[in-house]
Amino acid sequence: MAEIQIKNVAKRFGEYQALSDINLTIADQEFMVLLGASGCGKTTLLRIIAGLETQSTGEVWIGDKRVDHLPPKDRGIAMVFQNYAVFPHLTVFENIGFGLRMQKLPNDEVTRRVQRTAELMHIEQLLKRYSGELSGGQRQRVAVARALAMEPDVILMDEPLSNLDALLRLEMRAELKGVLAESKTTAIYVTHDQVEAMSLADRISVMHQGRIVQAATPVEVYRNPAERFVAGFIGNPPMNFVTARPEGKGRWNVAGQSFDGPASDAGALEFAIRPEDLTPAEAGLRATAKVVEPLGAHLLVTCEVDGALFRAVLDSDLVVKPEDSLTLAPMPDRVRWFDPETTKAVAV
């Protein structure tokens, strides 16, 4: 029962503009991921929603209640912290039950809910232990259980998996997705890891320099980046860009080749294509291979097109050596165009 609305939120730290004019609506039970590089303002936004930071201007609504001047405890939220913040002086049981005790719930209710969430997170055998006796992964489970036990309207997570090793991260990611879907809470999840974002999110908000540059489903963000920044940020390796010169109405010259493009009268556009949407062919972009990296599943070739850096993900059976000449054909429906002035995507 909790939709979140963020209206015109901005945050300044002295001279530094950490967030500017954030508008975002997160639907009830939606899993929203805030994705961006460090310093983009994603954590600040999360902390403003939590009430750990106060916005300079703007409003935050949770459900039909305006919460932006309420302390964290009155916002109906629960939070999972990057370094877990499991209280070292309390047992796992008392950690999970901490919030329930603050609500002055009767003892048997606390026990029941702690037991249930502990089972959900598979830590029921650890309830008597202290934080110092737990592994990183176990602490992470305690932190999530502690938040879930509150049965909050909204659960906020600040890079909760970033301190785990790769394998554990994969395991927790899947588990977290299942548990949260079942709990039917609205979730906001901050991460700099795009794979994590893709795998977890109903929608991703890509943030850059204190602004949300695109908020859309993972597939949409990947396929149709709204800005050049998103195109260059999402995807590993990210999109390739080559400057395109106008050749006449709707025709553009890209590295000596003619392509159909937007009917724009801009002096130049940027032609963009994902590395995996390229195939070697008779006709296409002429490239010179520079570095060849066999990655098992496929071959990553870093090459030069028209003096620009250009990557192609090719079939691993292909034999390519540095300084080889390649002709790479882009899949026509995967080509995207960006205006170098506005950095916005230009529709065909």
């Binding site: 302390p71 913040a85 002086h89 603050m102």
Partner: protein, 278 residues
């Protein structure tokens, strides 16, 4: 050939090891032997203390200590010392801990100025201020009282207490507090339920530190008390006139809390200074 060289290398290392152990032992003795001498004198009869040559083993006679206990004004001086140190301990922690917390948790305009004030206090020959305070206290009726002296000693202890509590609070991750807020705590309950239990041993250590600062202080105590002398002031005043065994017994009583103090706070001593340095 190789066997010989490794052997000499081993010898050098063993010799180095002996020099090292010998130096450690010597330095321990350097600290402990003078204390042992004081112990001998304290546990000897007044006659033995003034006799010559001295025995190097205590005779376990409580004569000197009894004399000390019966010396006019001595017990009340001891009582005053404990009272002043106790009040100093409570005052300096209750006043300083909030400031230490503010320094560790907030960035606010004027923070640097405040830190400067604290550092200035630490770098200042504070006992000198006892002189004008004596005048001020006479005007306010605080002269020659336990509270008056405790106030001065608190000023002495504040820079240490602020810096120590600052470093203690800095050792508690702010996320723990934030987690408590999101789990239904106010600032105050988060402090009492999360920060306080974690910080209590450290606070105790810095309280003991404040106690000892006051317990040991001589100059201000001598300047500010006349009738209600503390032990240090009393001993100082009577240095010229009092017999040796009285001095030694008094010195011994002064030293005992120090031994307990260092033992009680030994775990915190280095951590406290580690951050307080910066």
């Amino acid at each position: 050939m190789t066997a010989v060289t490794t052997d000499t290398a081993g010898d050098t290392r063993r010799a180095g090891r002996y020099v090292y152990l010998a130096s450690v032992t010597l330095l321990c003795a350097w600290v402990l032997v003078p204390l042992y001498f004081l112990l001998i004198n304290t546990l000897s009869s007044p006659e033995a203390v003034n006799a010559f040559p001295k025995s190097f083993i205590p005779e376990f006679d409580l004569g000197s200590l009894t004399f000390f206990a019966n010396f006019a004004g001595m017990l009340s001086a001891l009582k005053n010392s404990i009272l002043v140190a106790g009040v100093t301990m409570i005052l300096s922690i209750t006043i300083s801990a909030p400031a230490g917390y503010a320094l560790s948790r907030f960035d606010f305009p004027g923070k640097e100025l405040f830190r400067l004030l604290i550092l200035l206090t630490r770098a200042f020959p504070l006992p000198l201020l006892a002189l004008p305070l004596a005048v001020m206290f006479i005007r306010t009726g605080l002269d020659d009282t336990v509270l008056g002296l405790a106030l001065v000693h608190t000023t002495l202890a504040i820079p240490f207490a602020v810096l120590i509590t600052f470093s203690l609070f800095s050792g508690i991750p702010v996320e723990l507090e934030e987690a408590a807020w999101t789990l239904g705590c106010t600032r105050l309950t988060a402090f009492t339920k999360v920060v306080l239990p974690l910080i209590l041993p450290g606070i105790t250590a810095s309280a003991i530190f404040a106690f000892v600062i006051s317990w040991n202080e001589v100059f201000a105590a001598a300047v500010l008390t006349i009738e209600n002398r503390t032990l240090t002031a009393f001993l100082l005043q009577n240095l010229d006139t009092s017999p040796l065994h009285l001095k030694f017994a008094g010195g011994f009583i002064l030293v005992v809390p120090a031994l307990i103090f260092i033992f009680a706070v030994r775990k915190y001593l280095f951590a406290m200074w580690g951050i307080a340095n910066r």
